[in-house]
Amino acid sequence: MATTGFVKKIRDIMRMDAGINGDAQRIEQLVWLLFLRVYDVKEADWEFDDDDYQSIIPEECRWRNWAEPDENGHALTGDELLDFVNNTLFPTLKELNVSSDTPIKKAIVKSTFEDANQYMKNGVYLRQVIDTVNEIDFEDVKESHAFGDIYEEILKELQSAGSSGEFYTPRAVTDFMAHMIQPRLGEKMADFACGTGGFLTSWIKELSKQVKTTEDQELFGESIYGIEKKPFPYLLCITNMLLHDIDVPKVYHDNSLLKKVLDYTDRDKFDVILMNPPYGGREDKSVQNYFPDDLADSETADLFMSVIMYRLKKNGRAAVVLPDGFLFGTDNTKVNIKKKLFSEFNLHTVIRLPGSVFSPYTSITTNLLFFDNTKPTEETWFYRLDMPEGYKHFSKTKPMKMEHFTPVMEWWNNRQEVEEDGWAKAKKYTVQEIAENDYNIDLCGFPHEEEEIIPPMDLINQYQEKRASLNAEIDHILDKIMAIMEDAK
């Protein structure tokens, strides 16, 4: 079932219910329903593998026993259903007995329900929603990153995608990055703003090809680490991981920016980091206190770049999606971050992605940065990935696909400089050249780009961000001038 239709259908039903006010509550309602359904599917697997498996959920509260129709096609509905959910299901799940010994895969139920709410007031509508959730084929969901789709769809309805800086990374992009980073069993991969788990699933899929033994399976299960700040994507991510056979998902509901980067020790570091940090998201100003002065600014993408650099193991590898602004930016903080990147890490490849990859959520243009913690950068390759032939732009109906990365994959292992119409499409720059250009690494860009029209909210965000960054730069210069003038006295 198409996710667009799914979200729309759920929304149409929920709109008729007097208990739900607005999309935020709709999401909450939907998330715990989805969770219970997925958990039930997973439990069926666990029971199959382990005869002694004991669910943490009391029998009557398990999805199969109340949400699905019995053999006769009868299912709870109306006031009866409402009464059960409000007075049995919720109190029971909220009060589950959980100790520090409880395995995460069981404790998850309680943590999910601790914050959850049951808003619907009409049992018949609730029944209709449950039936719709039952229609989802979870084998499909695994295949298609559908959780990302569902979440994005809801976000879009909320019109908040732009302002919260959350953009669902298209599957082609996460898959490509996971492929190029070449996962190995035994490695641990992290995403410190994992959303619904797009990178985690791409990593899992790439790595799962290597699983042969039960030992492999164990290493595989331990190979991911995610942090998500927002409760709903976090819960969707957990659900998503369960679906992908990660029985103990190391995904945490937390804010990665709220720890002093200087305090990270080797234990907090990872072999691989795959990320698309939020851009232009707003964080409280106090967040900057967790960063050294020269690396602190208000752009979340910059802050996450610092986190990544502090949490990448020696010899570790990283691939990060970053907006053009990071490449162009010559304000002090950005330059400092880039200096750190070039002088402590080996930034070997930058891929300039075509516009509209994130369409329709944002038209921001982005880049993929591949680097490792092996040695200082000596030279960096830039490669411009052009819009595939026959495409003017990507859209919801014509999204970017893995095959569109073929040109760059062919180039990757046989790197050559390429020039098109007198403009560099692929070129190698030495770190000296980059430093001479004030670390403005807007190289191998799109030459004939027509002036792009950006949706108003994005445009305003971009404007405010760029203006703030320029203002900060100006203030910084003026402060220096003032200081020089001051000591004249």
Partner: protein, 503 residues
Amino acid sequence: MNAQQLKNSILQRAIEGRLVPQRPEEGSAKELLEKIQEEKNRLIAEKKIKKSKPLPPISDDEKPFDIPDSWEWVRFDEFGVYKKGPFGSALTKSMFVPKGIDTIKVYEQKNAIQKDATLGNYYISRKYFEEKMTGFEVKSGDIIVSCAGTIGETYILPDGCETGIINQALMRMKLMPSVYVPFFLLYFDSILKNTARKSSKGSALKNIPPFAELKSYLVPLPPLAEQQRIMEKIEELLPLIDQYDKAHTKLTAFNKRFPEMMKKSILQYAIEGKLVEQRKEEGTADELLQQIQAEKKQLIEEKKLKETKPLPPITEDEIPFDIPDTWKWIRLDDIVVKDIKRGKAPSYINKSNTLVFAQKCNTKEGSINLELAKCLDEAKLIKYPANEFMLNEDIIVNSTGTGTMGRVGLYRSTDNPKNLPIVPDSHVTIIRPSNSISHKYIYAVLKHNQAYLEKQGEGSTNQKELKPLTLQKLLIPLPPLNEQHRIVAKIEELLPFCERLIK
């Protein structure tokens, strides 16, 4: 505050003696001045330079600001010897010879402006030099100053440059050995240049002021060591001012660009169906389209509209973006009730009661200005069918000439206060949508397409024209009628804010 203002303010502070503190151990400027005067007197005694007319002593009234006690006010004349280039008639192109063994280089303004002694290839013969031009000789160490147009650019001729003469647009400065050149040039560059500009003679081409005036300018002179400290401080500040300049220029350009981007963004958003919500009860564009098709059929039967050659159906690839389900992609020709074609080539007359709409009436600023309309020779009126006269809310597309082609305007009868009949000329195309459609909505779509239309000209560079077919085929995302009105209202609510941003 722009970078120049910032720089000027810092330089002003420098020459007022407030950029670095004074140090008693560095002595006073008086000693330095005496040394400079001694040098000058010696050169006069040795007949190397001529004694200049004594200038009046400096009165307190003349002094533009207070300087530290250890400084001195000195007239410009004291620092060196200045010479302007020869009169034009003494040095004309006919005197120039190709470069050879016995030739002398003629320095020009560009040497001073571009700070390069090797530029230019005018030479005069040594013979002519020795006869008439020795007074204008320049060599390494002399300073040349540009005196016309870009005035006040200075350049110290480097070691090893060719000996030459200055031309009429240059001034030569030979400074006394004890003058600390960097500080002198700094002063010259900042303050003197500005003063000179203000009082300079010549209207179009600015010239450096008359010598008498220039020589009497006042220079505040600090002790030598202090001059050096000032220069160090300024060297420290200059790169920062440059950085400021870059950032400030970026910010200014960015701020300037933003309102226009915002307008485009709003229009784009509007015609994608995102500016207002869709309402079920407002029906679909399909219904609207059928209604218009019926209307068009009627007009064709009544011979009020020509039947156009059927246009190719809209393909998937042409569609630039997704639109709501209730909308429909159509071609512009589907909804017009007047043939899409240009007006007739008019015969003008000095005065008449029928106006002709020319491209320039559709102004760059986005408004219509009928004061720029011409008058039609009314003897020719019979050639104009009734539907050729412009109506309220007709959309105008300028259709010829690079630079104006593609510009879209909306004609309102209020633009024509005397309510005179008006017809388009042969350089504009009138788009008249059915009255079942919001003309202002179609105008918004066309306005959004303006950048595209500007590039669709066919023909040679100077004869570019917009073919009617390009307009007929243009894709229009069509919402239900009531939604069109709501979109237009929202746009009209938003655009004034963009206008305010421009100010």
